[in-house]
Amino acid sequence: MKLITHNMLTSKCLKGVLQGYPLAINATDVKVTEVDFNPEFVSRIIPKLDWNVLWGAADSLGHSEGLPKTVEPKYEEDQEFLKKAHHVLLEVEIEEGTLTCPESGRQFPISKGIPNMLLTEAEVQ
């Protein structure tokens, strides 16, 4: 699971949970694979993200070094910034670990890079 996916996942479908976002990450196996860098594409992804959540996720995996906490205007011209964003969004992958709902504490396992977000009928809103 890449951090871009983490940026879009919520546990709000759990009964009694309002936001369910962001899910806390506890990774036991993180893999980094090289992905072709396309600055134009990364620039188009940035506005679709919750940057704070991305920064927090990268930080919890020890990959926040050099990554600014806020997105500057004209970020699309800043190659260094785009490279960092590209790295945390697309190259860092969680293979094994858990995601935890910030409100209920319910844990969702990640196995072989696939998060298991299935709920029992009793857990659903």
Partner: protein, 330 residues
């Protein structure tokens, strides 16, 4: 001896050069350009033949049944026996031919997959390579069939429209083997593809289909789109469990979840229809495969109430099933 040695060296040199040679790509593209129309044509003809063979088989079967009835009516009239036998033999032959055709079509598709070029051209879509899948895995995951390919054909037909949307995030709900979303990922390398499936084995297969075709796919084991934030996806596609079944058959997480659709074959689809308005990004589009029994007009009505326009992209009759792909956009 010297000659042989020098020939060998030069061949090796050439091979070495070829590997880094930019003309190899041009050559490959040229070859592909030459071969692809023929393979496509062959594929199309094989498909047409398969359909007519199937129809023939059905007709023979019904004829057979009728003859059996006539035979019974005639109190085992001895003259009919050899005809029934001939028809049965004929039916077997048709089945064999059908299998052979199916095998050759699969091979064609595999060839097309092997020759895959991450097409920058936007008028065709490659069928993903699937030979990595062990056939036993299809005991647990829906095997790509005519409906899967109809969905791919619908997306291919709409490639120009889809590229005009400049999609960033694409999602297939219930991706099964993953061929459809992988095909989409191959056509649009500059997107991030996501897939969900309620069946973990399907998630694993989708991921491996994508990676064998060098598509980066993000798979999440979830029910429909229940755990995604709102307004993210530019394209959502869904080949639902559309078979009309008892309501109680619906709601599993194994292979039955891939086909059992409950009442009108729409129980799962209708749940997703209510999520689509929230899940689609601004300007997003939703592609849905349906059969006639699902009452597509009703689906269009539901989506109209959500503020969506609808359009039928493609239709096909497969055996007794009338399949179609609809798209919905605001």
């Amino acid at each position: 001896m010297d000659d042989t040695a020098s020939t060998t060296t030069s061949v090796e040199d050439n091979t070495g050069n070829l590997l880094d040679n930019p003309t190899r790509d041009t050559l490959a593209e040229g070859l592909l350009g030459l071969l692809k129309p023929t393979v496509d044509q062959l594929d199309e003809r094989v498909r047409a033949t398969r359909i007519s063979q199937l129809e023939l088989k059905q007709q023979i079967e019904s004829l057979n049944e009728e003859l059996q009835k006539v035979k019974e009516a005639l109190n085992n009239h001895p003259d009919l026996d050899p005809y029934v036998k001939k028809l049965i033999a004929c039916k077997h032959k048709v089945t064999v031919v059908l299998n052979v055709l199916q095998a050759s079509q699969n091979q064609n598709r595999a060839q097309a997959g092997l020759c895959l070029i991450r097409a920058a051209s936007t008028d065709t879509m490659e069928t993903p390579y699937q030979n990595h899948i062990d056939s036993k895995d299809f005991d647990h995951v829906y095997e790509p069939a005519e409906d899967s390919f109809l969905l791919i054909d619908a997306l291919e037909k709409d490639l120009e429209f889809l590229s005009s949307k400049k999609p960033i995030f694409c999602l297939e709900v219930g991706s099964g083997s993953g061929v459809v979303i992988t095909g989409l990922g191959m056509a649009f390398p500059q997107t991030i593809c996501f897939s969900t499936d309620i069946n973990l084995k399907a998630c694993v297969m989708s991921k491996s289909t994508a990676s064998h075709n060098r598509v980066a796919l993000e798979c999440v084991n979830m029910d429909l789109t229940s755990c995604f934030l709102d307004n993210k996806f530019d394209i959502i596609i869904f080949n639902p469990p559309y078979v009309v079944t008892e309501s109680s058959e619906c709601g599993g997480t194994d292979i039955t979840a891939s086909w059992a659709g409950g009442v009108k074959g729409r129980q799962v689809t209708d749940r997703l229809l209510n999520m689509i308005p929230k899940q689609l990004a601004e300007g997003g589009v939703f592609y849905l495969l349906l059969i006639k029994e699902n009452i597509p007009e009703e689906v269009a009505d539901i989506m109209m109430k959500h503020g969506f326009q609808s359009e039928t992209v493609i239709k096909r009759q497969v055996r007794n099933e009338h399949q179609l792909v609809m798209k919905f956009y605001r």
